[in-house]
């Protein structure tokens, strides 16, 4: 349905006027909340996410479990009822939400220098204000920014985006284009995957695909996704550096 319009067949333009390899408007801010140790606000198209980070702080259980040599990362996600097309209250025990929480916690556990903070907990709180596709990717990007704002050292940015395929609309395999950064309507109809890379290289940290796909098309989608992540990393890096410069300038003056 999102590609049924004549604009795709004729000019290869998607419903919102993008070509296959164009990202949506990405807007990000760090240090949006003064009370939190680290915070960020990220918009990928119409998907809007707020992230706050508290920590590293002492573990609540007080050394329970024999003590950890590394900081533990806890993620909480709250998806607002008004975020989707229909109003829907989602409990915290929702399966999709716990899957996302596990993914984010696991991705950053491997990336953060958690060994610098033994016996501590880093708490990440995500609030989803609006959903229009690429939810997990937006959450990962927002968490990266908030963790950088909190000053927690990490080896590189974890950036994520989605990539899909026009496979069901193509006449044969060769014509099937990968698509970058799907919006909500495209996500419902087309097969897609979410890929998160560590920095601008080709190291894949997170890869989740829940739709059926022929094995041969996976390569093109993954390549498009990794390239999109590279673009996102440079945008996020610009945001962080601009914020840092603003802080330095205000401190000097």
């Amino acid at each position: 349905m999102p590609l049924d319009t004549s604009s795709y067949a004729l000019a290869h333009l998607r419903l919102d006027g993008r070509r296959w390899n164009e990202l949506r408007r990405l807007h990000a801010q760090t240090s949006t909340q003064a009370a939190a140790d680290g915070s960020s606000y990220l918009e990928m198209g119409n998907t809007k996410v707020i992230c706050t980070v508290a920590g590293p702080a002492e573990s609540r259980k007080g050394g329970g479990g024999g003590g950890n040599a590394e900081a533990k990362i806890e993620v909480e996600i709250g998806i607002a009822g008004f975020s989707g097309v229909e109003r829907k209250r989602r409990g915290k025990g929702d399966k999709r939400t716990s899957e996302m929480r596990h993914t984010i916690a696991s991705a950053f556990s491997a990336n953060l220098f958690a060994h610098l903070y033994p016996h501590s907990t880093i708490t990440v709180n995500l609030h989803v204000l609006s959903q229009d596709g690429s939810l997990l990717a937006a959450c990962l990007n927002a968490t990266t920014l908030a963790l950088i704002d909190a000053g927690i050292p990490m080896s590189d940015y974890i950036v994520a985006c989605t990539a899909g395929s026009t496979a069901s609309y193509a006449s044969n395999d060769e014509d099937a284009d990968p698509l970058l950064d799907l919006n909500g309507l495209e996500e419902q109809e087309l097969p897609f995957l979410t890929v998160g890379t560590l920095g601008a290289g080709e190291k894949v940290s997170v890869l989740i695909m829940e739709t059926r796909m022929q094995m041969t098309r996976l390569e093109a989608m993954l390549a498009a996704g990794v390239d999109g992540c590279r673009q996102i990393r440079s945008i996020l890096d610009g945001v962080v550096r601009a914020h840092g410069k603003a802080v330095l300038d205000s401190a000097i003056s």
């Binding site: 024999g66 950053f108 491997a110 894949v204 739709t211 059926r212 094995m215 390569e219």
Partner: protein, 305 residues
């Protein structure tokens, strides 16, 4: 993982050192599975849909049952499939069942759910009896009897085999009345499975440079990352899941997906062979088999020569 069973530093560094020298502790090649055995134990010849899978020492039992319920109001034409997998202290020391379920249990159930139920491998429309009023609710219960690593592959294999084996009760609809026949009255009807998706789990070590398939318990506890690929034997990828962990080269991931195809075909063969063997054993010949055969009894005499 519960801390009671966490491996010691000696064990984990020995494992890593051995892997760096291209040796797995049980001398398997990096991409080999442990011996897989699949049987259909059942209490009576009329009971279908119970499968037991062993991969090495990991042992999983799957039981399928069905009942007639009213369908969900927003899905009037679909039946219901529920997959339940509970971990208990039976499977390994240190599993705590009091309180909330272990996060690894949630992930296991989610992955199984995505591979079989959300991928629509079981055609739920065929479970509908009367639209909006009655439908079959198929419940798959997985019991993990022994945990020696790679629970997901074993559970998926057991689940697919049990679903392929199961026969739901036959029924007849006359206007408003629905008569469900028991197994004694009429033979059951097999479920409609579009295809058989199998999961292949691969684990990463040493900053993502070493990849092995089918990790046993020790390898699972020491690994730095893992990826699960669920595929059918036709090369259609049903799901890929890499939930964080160490970052791995993208090309390496694609290779893992390609290599998984061979494993999936192997598992497909195991299920087919087990189903055929079970069919042979259950088929007592029927009443008329001896009369229906045209074979004469032959007396072989040694040729004169």
């Amino acid at each position: 993982m519960p801390h009671a069973t966490a491996p010691s530093t000696n064990e984990s560094s020995f494992l890593l050192a051995a892997l760096r020298e291209n040796v797995r502790l049980d001398s398997r090649p990096f991409d080999a599975y442990r011996p897989i055995s699949l049987t259909f134990p059942s209490s009576s010849p009329d009971t279908y849909g119970q499968s037991e899978v062993r991969i090495g020492k990991t042992r999983v039992l799957c039981v399928i049952s069905s009942e007639v319920v009213a369908p969900y109001p927003d899905r009037k034409f679909d039946g219901v499939l529920t997959i339940s997998c509970e971990m208990s202290p039976l499977m390994s020391a240190g599993v705590d069942t009091g309180g909330r379920p272990d996060p690894s249990e949630t992930i296991l159930t989610t992955l199984l759910d995505k591979s079989i139920r959300r991928s629509r491998s079981l055609d739920t429309e065929s479970l509908c009896i009367v639209a909006g009023q009655k439908c079959f609710s198929i419940r798959a219960d997985l019991h993990i009897l022994d945990h020696d690593g790679n629970l997901l592959d074993a559970c998926c294999l057991a689940l697919v085999a049990a679903l392929a084996h199961y026969r739901r009760p036959d029924y007849e609809v006359h206007g408003e009345d629905v008569k469900i026949f028991s197994a004694q009255e009429r033979d059951g009807v097999k479920l409609t499975l579009r295809d058989w998706p199998f999961c292949v789990s691969s684990s990463y070590f040493d900053a993502g440079t070493i990849t092995i398939t089918d990790a046993n318990l020790l390898e699972e506890q020491c690994r730095e990352g893992e990826v699960v690929v669920a595929m059918t034997r036709h090369g259609e990828v049903v799901q890929v899941a890499k939930y964080g962990g160490v970052a791995v080269d993208a090309l390496g991931m694609l290779q893992v997906v390609e290599q998984s195809l061979a494993k999936v075909k192997m598992m497909d063969g195991v299920v087919k062979e087990a189903l055929a063997r079970d069919e042979r054993e259950r088929d007592k010949g029927g009443v008329m088999k001896a009369e229906l055969s045209a074979e004469n009894e032959r007396v072989m005499e040694r040729p004169v020569g």
